[in-house]
């Protein structure tokens, strides 16, 4: 059963088009991530799902209902806001109880729910405090508690972790994931952080300029990015983009890579279907981890190291290919110091090729 379906939703203010026809459908219990840079329309889409803003055209279905004309409170959803939106004049208990009170949940039941939620999130000791007396992490917890108390069919998280410091963010991320596993509810989660997107999501919708660039599982998005934007947005450090021309050598389709005055033809094993487009200007996409340091191999290139960034388990090596700065993720023992030369062998089985003009993926 589809838990959430968004059908051709658009949103415009006068001549400004925030959303240009969004289609998304997810199943019950799935964790959907809406990710994209700021201004891409993801928060607007979230607000439309919540019913806080109305779509210009299109339909939103939650569960088996078309909810366009249903008020937010009747959509059976709960939402956690970026700023947490805790009612400052109420203590934590009242914050959690407010919604239930409004819905007319009996007092006794309210107390039970509050106790359960507080236990689940380990915040029993905070119940009588005002939001101003809580730390950022605690507020975040209360905001989640307030949503949990609702027990909705759909949770909406609007960048819930972006106001936390790095360590807390990682902790809370894990906690949210565990919560999802435990509760098996459907979640829509807006973020601009691609790591959150990758770690949390069952399905990711990458958005830009009001358009969904790609909708798929994290793995699909990572390995088969639909276009240059998705490829660059997902993954850190970002994918390397090397401009080159398609060539054919010995019946094999491939590209020519140059470094330090040395040029080498590298065949693309997955690019047989591009046979008819030899000579076309393309962009070769290689993730940093798709380079191996080798001693001497036929498909490797000697590259001069400009800079190294050790992260502990790996070392990022910055160098050049085809006159473009690239980054290779190497094992620390293979990394060379700046000024030294390292031979890099790209793993062409996972390489992707984009059309230089349309920026869509060719192979």
């Amino acid at each position: 059963m589809g838990a959430l379906a968004i059908k051709n939703v658009t949103k415009s203010f006068g001549d400004t088009h925030i959303l240009k026809g969004i289609d998304i459908e997810i199943d019950s219990g799935q964790f959907l991530i809406l990710v994209g840079p700021s201004g891409c329309g993801k928060s607007t889409l979230m607000n439309i799902i919540a019913g806080l803003e109305a779509p210009t055209t299109g339909e939103v279905h939650i569960g088996d209902r078309m909810v366009n004309n249903i008020a937010p409170k009747d959509r059976d959803i709960a939402m956690v806001f970026q700023s947490y939106a805790l009612y400052p004049t109420m203590n934590v208990r009242q914050n959690i109880a407010f919604g239930m009170e409004t819905r007319g949940v009996p007092k006794k039941e309210q107390e039970e729910i509050i106790a359960r939620v507080a236990k689940m999130l380990q915040m029993d000791h905070l119940l009588d405090r005002k939001p101003s007396q809580l730390s950022g992490g605690q507020r975040q917890r209360v905001a989640m508690g307030r949503a949990l108390a609702r027990d909705p069919i759909l949770f909406l998280f609007d960048e819930p972790l972006s106001n936390l410091d790095a360590k807390l963010r990682v902790e809370m991320r894990t906690e949210i994931k565990q919560l999802h596993h435990r509760l098996k509810t459907t979640i829509v989660y807006v973020t601009h952080d691609q790591i959150e997107a990758m770690t949390l999501g069952d399905k990711i919708a990458v958005m830009k300029d009001g358009v969904i660039q790609q909708f798929g599982s994290p793995q699909e998005i990572y390995e088969q990015p639909a276009n240059l934007f998705v490829a660059s947005f997902i993954g850190s450090p970002s994918m390397n983009f090397i401009p080159c021309h398609l060539a054919e050598q010995a019946g094999q389709i491939g590209v020519s890579l140059q470094s330090e005055g040395e040029a080498r033809f590298v065949p693309l094993p997955n690019a047989a279907k591009l046979a008819g487009q030899v000579g076309k200007k393309v962009i070769l996409g290689l993730r940093p981890e798709q380079f191996d340091a080798v001693e001497n191999s036929e498909n490797s290139l000697a590259c001069k190291v400009h800079l190294t960034e050790p992260t502990g388990p790996d070392t990022m090596v910055l160098t050049q290919l085809n006159g473009i700065e690239i980054c290779a993720r190497l094992h620390p023992r293979d990394a060379k110091g700046p000024g030294e030369t390292v031979r890099l062998k790209p793993d062409m089985t996972k390489a992707v090729v984009f059309d230089a003009e349309t920026e869509t993926r060719l192979a």
Binding site: N47, A50, L52, K73, A78, M79, T89, T102, R103, R146
Partner: protein, 282 residues
Amino acid sequence: MPKFWRGVVYSALLLAALYYLLPLYVMVITSVKTMDQIRAGNLLSFPTSISFDAWSKAWSSACTGVECGGLKPFFWNSVRMVIPAVLISTSLGALNGYILSKWRFPHSELTFALILFGVFIPFQVVLLPMAQTLGWFGIARSVTGLVFVHCVFGLASTTLFFRNYYVGIPDELIKAARLDGAGFWRIFFRIVLPMSTPIVMVVLIWQFTQIWNDFLFGVVFSSGDSQPITVGLNNLANTSTTVKEYNVDMSAALIAALPTILVYVFAGKYFVRGLTAGAVKG
């Protein structure tokens, strides 16, 4: 900061304080002098003995025209006028501000601009048409009429104050409350209003002083038994026998000013605090 400069700062501040206090000082000491002392001394000279006769005369027996009942009846007129007028105009302002910042609708900004412009209208312009309207409503020359007038013309500033304050309340709070199932009124009374204490203080103080101190509407829209204290004071100060009783005039002026002065002394800090909390933004 070097000691020398701190000295300069303190001297400047104290000097300014003297300038602000001078008229009040003059009024207070004059009000407790007898006429003989006033004639003998000058405006700064300290009274040789303190007498509150002038105060009691101003309160209960000075003449304001033919009646000689002092300021007492006028004072109560003002009280009866100022309390409902302040409460109503503040409540309406709070609601308007809430709607114009949190429940925008097509052309709500234009609506706000139209209401806001009312702050700037010279009140003399509205005297006659207002009089006619009050006549139609049958509330001319009554305290009710004055309350109405003050509400109408206080609306612009109270709306402005509240709207500017509420713009600073995050929209997400309202969204959260809507998801929690709260409607228009419930959000206002349970979420927004409890957060409004600073601005409510500012508006209450502002409206109280504005309405208490008003003379123009008071003189025009009231008659004998509904005249507010400013009109009483004006009549008293202009009702003179051969001797101008400066001490009675000053006592009367102080009586008229006492409520607002007290409000400032005791609630002034809330005023500044409220302004800090966002009333002056944009």
